[in-house]
């Protein structure tokens, strides 16, 4: 029954788990959010149906848009599908391609994807898409220092900047979990994730008011399969960020430590369960806070920055 899987297959499974699981996690979050609001909510597989419907539709591009407009969704999805190779999705041991890039490499891929989508939005000439991409870039410029400080914390904690090393460190003892540096870095990362996935203190996820939109507005001019790719890309991004939070920082347990089939299947289930748990927290936050005014987002980011900086501080005196 529990045969050993070849390493390349496990590596492929990491990508497939994220690729196939991402819309499902979005569906679970939408369901939980609706239930908390007293609505029945969409079916959990609804995001899959949406994607299937969009893939069957015709694609249109605005007049004057170049090839870049159509290539951007493909590049974005490709970038997001590369990241699961670099982070511990299913295994505790590093897979061969896992050392291809460190945390910064993953960060570069994330920003590459968001850069091409923003540039494609600029191609369209539509004011709302341009407004969204300009806002998205403005705010990602101020969240960047937070991410850097989180990376510094990881680097100081482990002496490397490999996600696998941090997960192993966190697993090693209870003292590693309760130390302030680790908790502060995880909290700052969580705040950044809320920002990056367009969740409530920053952006209304399901809103239809263009003036409040940041990330959502960027895909206004895409249609058909390209829109489907962009939607899928944002779901992938969400699951990837949740995976980093859960498997690297908060709960790196349940990962497969061997190549046995049952361990890997258990790891897939555990990953999706952890992502849904993080998603439930996000849904609760979504339902219990109001969206910040656009110019108050700097305050939110400065709070995240403060937490990340304190995390680095605490390490310098030892005992952090």
């Amino acid at each position: 029954m529990s045969a050993a899987l070849p390493i390349p297959l496990i590596q492929l499974l990491q990508v497939l788990t994220v690729a196939v699981g991402a819309p499902g996690v979005t569906g679970v979050i939408a369901k939980v959010e609706a239930r908390l609001q007293g609505r029945r909510g969409p079916r959990i597989p609804q995001p899959y149906y949406d994607l299937a419907k969009l893939f069957r539709k015709e694609a249109l591009a605005p007049e004057g848009a170049s090839w870049f407009f159509l290539a951007a969704p493909l590049v974005a999805v490709a970038a997001y599908l590369t990241i699961p190779l670099l982070i511990p999705v299913l295994t505790t041991y590093g897979l061969p391609l896992g050392y291809m890039g460190d945390i910064l490499g993953g960060g570069f891929l994330l920003s590459l994807a968001s850069f091409v989508v923003a540039t494609a939005a600029l191609e369209t000439g539509s004011p709302y898409a341009q407004l969204g991409s300009s806002r998205a870039k403005t705010f990602s410029a101020i969240t960047e220092p937070v991410v850097l400080f989180v990376v510094f914390t990881v680097a100081l904690l482990t002496g490397t900047d490999l996600p696998y090393a941090l997960a192993a460190t966190v697993r090693s003892s209870a003292g590693q979990i309760i130390r302030p540096a680790h908790l502060l870095a995880a909290a700052a990362l969580f705040m950044v994730i809320l920002h990056e996935t367009g969740r409530i203190p920053v952006e209304t996820h399901t809103g239809t008011n263009e003036f409040g939109m940041i990330e959502e507005a960027r895909s206004f001019e895409h249609s058909g399969p390209y829109l489907a790719l962009l939607k899928w890309a944002s779901e992938l991004k969400q699951l990837i960020l949740f995976t980093i939070l859960a498997d690297v920082f908060l709960a790196p347990w349940g990962l497969a430590s061997t190549q046995r089939l049952d361990a890997v299947i258990l790891a897939i289930v555990a990953l999706l369960a952890k992502a849904c748990a993080v998603g439930c927290v996000v849904a609760v936050i979504d339902d219990s806070f109001a969206k910040l005014r656009l110019f108050k987002i700097t305050e939110y980011v400065s709070a995240a920055f403060l937490i990340a900086v304190l995390g680095v501080f605490t390490l310098y005196l030892g005992g952090g």
């Binding site: 100081l156 003892s173 302030p180 400065s302 403060l306 501080f313 005196l317």
Partner: protein, 230 residues
């Protein structure tokens, strides 16, 4: 110390509590409503009682349990109650916000937080340089307490209303209690209690200040006092 080495669970917990207290101090910098400030102060005071319990359990000092209870009764219940009554008595004036609140910031919250980070860094690294080590003094919690002292000074400086300044002063006392707990947790209970009652004097003084400021200028803002300069 090598940062890749984790401290023990108790020390880690003490450090986390100290770090959260510092974060609450920053929350006070941002918070603009007096009642929310009082709520944050209550949370911070509750944390210091929790810390006393953690240290009592770790170092086997039973009298710290008594201190924790006393400190909770005083700082989580009594002082906020008195502050609320004092602020409740200063009725809001027509066309003005509730007493002692929004608009008293001299810096925008984001800049105040950035300035606070600099202050915290100064306090933190200055105390770190003192190299106060020992089995009873986690260097980190002590440095965090020093950072809190400076940030609460910062809070008192950037706010113009007496209520925020009072809360800033009370949190200053919290910071000093934190330092006292981590450095000298074996201090006799009677001394610790005496320090705790110093807080009551501060409450009385600030209460008089709030009432005097409000009675004279119908506002809690200290900006009105600048005219009194000789």
């Amino acid at each position: 110390m090598d940062p890749t080495q984790a401290p023990g669970v108790y020390e880690g917990a003490a450090n986390v509590i100290a770090a959260v207290m510092l974060l609450i101090e920053f929350g006070l910098l941002r918070q603009s409503l007096a009642r929310d400030q009082i709520r944050l102060y209550m949370a911070q005071s509750a944390l210091i009682s929790v810390l006393a319990i953690v240290i009592a359990a770790d170092r086997n000092l039973p009298d710290l349990y008594a201190l924790a209870a006393l400190s909770a009764a005083l700082k989580v219940v009594a002082v906020p109650l008195v502050m609320r009554r004092l602020l409740g008595r200063t009725d809001p004036i027509e066309g003005e916000e509730a007493p002692g609140v929004a608009g008293s910031q001299t810096l925008s919250p984001a800049s105040a937080v950035l300035a606070g980070i600099v202050l915290a860094a100064i306090g933190f690294f200055c105390f770190g340089a003192l190299k106060i080590h020992g089995p009873a003094a986690p260097a980190l919690a002590l440095a965090l307490a020093a950072a809190m002292v400076l940030v609460s000074f910062g809070l008192m400086i950037v706010r113009r209303d007496v209520a925020s300044q009072a809360i800033g002063f009370f949190t200053l006392e919290n910071a000093i209690s934190l330092a006292a707990l981590v450095v000298a947790s074996g201090l006799p209970l009677i001394l610790e209690t005496a320090f705790l009652f110093d807080l009551l004097v501060a409450v009385v003084v600030f209460g008089m200040l709030i009432r005097a400021a409000h009675g004279r200028s119908e506002s809690l803002s200290t900006a009105d006092l600048t005219r009194l300069r000789g």
